[in-house]
Symmetry: C2
Subunit: 404 residues, 2 copies
């Protein structure tokens, strides 16, 4: 955990969204582990899911249900991922939806299930269903903070972001929550994120918005290079603000900026809370031939255990960064065109140590908690930015001890 901000501001509520939560004893007693999001009729929904071929049961079911209708309820449990659970897992996820539908008078396919936690153990579906009435009883438009607590696993803090802007003098709001600290290398969306707005948008436009925002936020972070089986990011638009945002309007572009800011804030919160993280690293790769190769360089650095342990040690070991650039697999990469900066300090110029670089300069940057590594490739004008963490003793401890 890089960030130590103790208290989160209460987020703006979203007209048409209520959240409830409870302690259902899914895996541990005495902690919130079940959340429900109620979505007002007439809302639209966009969603992106994990690209891992090994999709968890709730992901499969949620995708099926989304094809049929917009959701009236989301039901989210932590403590158990309901992944690698075969037919039983699918049936458990469906049973959860069906139980909630019965309690609320909607249809089973109007409920979307989400799970996070341990992989490969049967979902304790009875305890989950038993908890539903209590979670429903707490539904409240100010339920975001409790709900954000209810979806945490190894997270040390709830993750919330909320922004409001005036469009033609009237406020539009976007509020979201997310969870995730490990198995973080989202490929489409990260772990679980739920975002809502009172804006009114066509479903297709909403999906386009979400995909754009996710690309530069959740799809631009990595803790450990491991893509989860349960990644999902959902954007709900209740349309309680009754001005429909058209694709070519200034209002729409303002809305996109708002959504982008909320996604980036949530994605960065996940990295700051990365398992065992002591540093928040921004990797900015510039002057690439195209965006893909910039991202390839960025992720090769982000996933290098040697680079990550050097950050943990606050060691300005730039050779490890350059070696990672070299093995990123870029065709005909000319190392003599490569420059590397740690914040304001140029450490590598033309593929070797910058003439005016001193170890003291590097050390003073590495002692910081937030560090930007900028790599210039001299191959073009494309660029990409991702965020990652260091690799600490605590990362190993947490993941060696989780499940035991």
């Amino acid at each position: 955990m890089v960030d130590t901000k103790p208290i989160i501001e209460p987020p703006y509520p979203i007209a048409g969204i209520r959240l409830g939560s409870t302690r259902a004893g899914i895996r541990y007693a005495d902690r919130r582990d079940l959340a429900i999001v109620e979505v007002a009729p007439g809302s639209t929904c966009a969603a992106v899911f994990t690209q891992n071929a090994f999709r968890a049961a709730p992901v499969v079911i949620a995708q099926q249900h989304l094809l049929l209708d917009n959701p009236h309820y989301l039901v989210i449990n932590t403590g158990n991922a309901n992944a690698g659970t075969g037919c039983q897992g699918l049936s458990d996820a469906e049973a959860t939806c069906s139980a909630l539908a019965e309690l609320t008078g909607c249809l089973t396919h109007q409920v979307l299930p989400f799970s996070t936690g341990v992989i490969g153990e049967p979902l304790p579906v009875k305890r989950l269903i038993t908890g539903l009435p209590e979670a429903l009883a707490t539904l409240d438009s100010n339920g975001w903070i409790d709900a954000a607590h209810s979806i945490m696993t190894t997270d040390t803090r709830p993750k919330l972001a909320s922004r409001q802007t005036l469009i033609d003098g009237q406020p539009i709001t976007v509020t979201g929550m997310a969870k995730g600290a490990g198995m973080i290398r989202p490929d489409m969306a990260t772990m679980l994120a739920f975002i809502a707005t009172d804006a009114s948008l066509d479903q297709k436009l909403l999906q386009t918005c979400l995909m754009g925002a996710v690309e530069d936020s959740f799809n631009s972070v990595s803790v450990d290079g491991d893509t989860s089986t349960n990644d999902a990011c959902v954007l709900l638009a209740t349309g309680r603000d009754d001005r429909t945002l058209a694709a070519d309007s200034t209002a729409f572009s303002e809305f996109k900026t708002l959504l982008h800011a909320v996604c980036v804030e949530l994605a960065q919160a996940i990295i700051r809370d990365g398992e065992g993280a002591t540093k928040f690293i921004t990797l900015l790769v510039e002057e690439g031939a195209n965006r893909d190769e910039c991202r390839r360089v960025a992720y090769t650095i982000a996933h290098s255990p040697l680079v990550k342990t050097a950050f943990f040690a606050s060691d300005p070991n730039w050779g490890r960064i350059l070696a990672a650039v070299g093995r990123a697999g870029l065709p005909e990469l000319d190392l003599t065109g490569v420059s590397i900066y740690l914040d304001e300090v140029c450490i590598v110029r033309a593929g070797e140590r910058a003439a005016d670089y001193t170890e003291d300069q590097g050390q003073s940057v590495m002692n910081r908690t937030d560090i930007t590594v900028r790599i210039q490739l001299s191959r073009g004008t494309a660029q990409s930015r991702i965020w990652t963490t260091d690799l600490s003793l605590d990362y190993v401890r947490i993941n060696a001890e989780y499940r035991t």
Copy 2:
């Protein structure tokens, strides 16, 4: 370090090869850090080098020299990789060759330089050159063990392998040494390996032999996914056994088996000595559509911090293995065709926990030091095998402290 075998057997000497070493004070006082390999005239040489675009100066120089002639001497230092050192680095590597050539009466391009150690610091070329006469004075056909010590960095033990076989009643010998414990994800060859044989082979045939052997040995291991800038593997054939091995002969195929065995033994020794390693993991991926996709699955598992920390914890957390298979990027992978075994225990069948699997069975395998993970993909008949380690607290400690 997984292996605790205390003493290595003296390897078979190779007629036509002598090795010398000394303490040149490259980085630390009082440790062997400089080795020389003398190669008898008439020998042939094959070599493979790192595919990292960021090649160290000695790699560049060695490749240039090899184009001109077979080597008479190899000179190898540890403590400094002479990488990221620009023009000065090239000139230092060349100066080293030139000094040794002058001392021995050969030509500069008949010397190949190799370096390993810290990246990005100037090679202390004067100390290195000052050490050459002392290293030369110790040249001995039984110098393998001391030389193997002289090329170690974070290695905890020297790595040697030596095999002899009878071909038509007469012995043929292959002996090799290697170093490497971290930054191990060879792409062509690993760190430094020097192998010699008394067999007589045409240079092109020798190169083919080496590339074949390297593919299934050094190119099939990974400690941390980081490809070194200094990888090099050299095979010297002195031809002192005067029977030339023709490509289509039984003798040649026996020689290839011998070479293969030596390379595998050295590559496995590197993994067993992997930084902080407490487990030796064999990953065998079977039933793939082609060898490439088998390797992709194997390396995705080998590089997953979550899988590696689970091994460190002796935790049969098969969900992490299955999640890694799922994110390996295989086109249209059907998880219901995937089975996974830990040694003799089937943990996953048809993409979910095997019906007869018990946690006790998994635990009993995970408590072992040597574990084979077998993944069956049901997509074809291709297979591939690689070796890797766990990710331990000591890996982080070693790499956070190295250089400090």
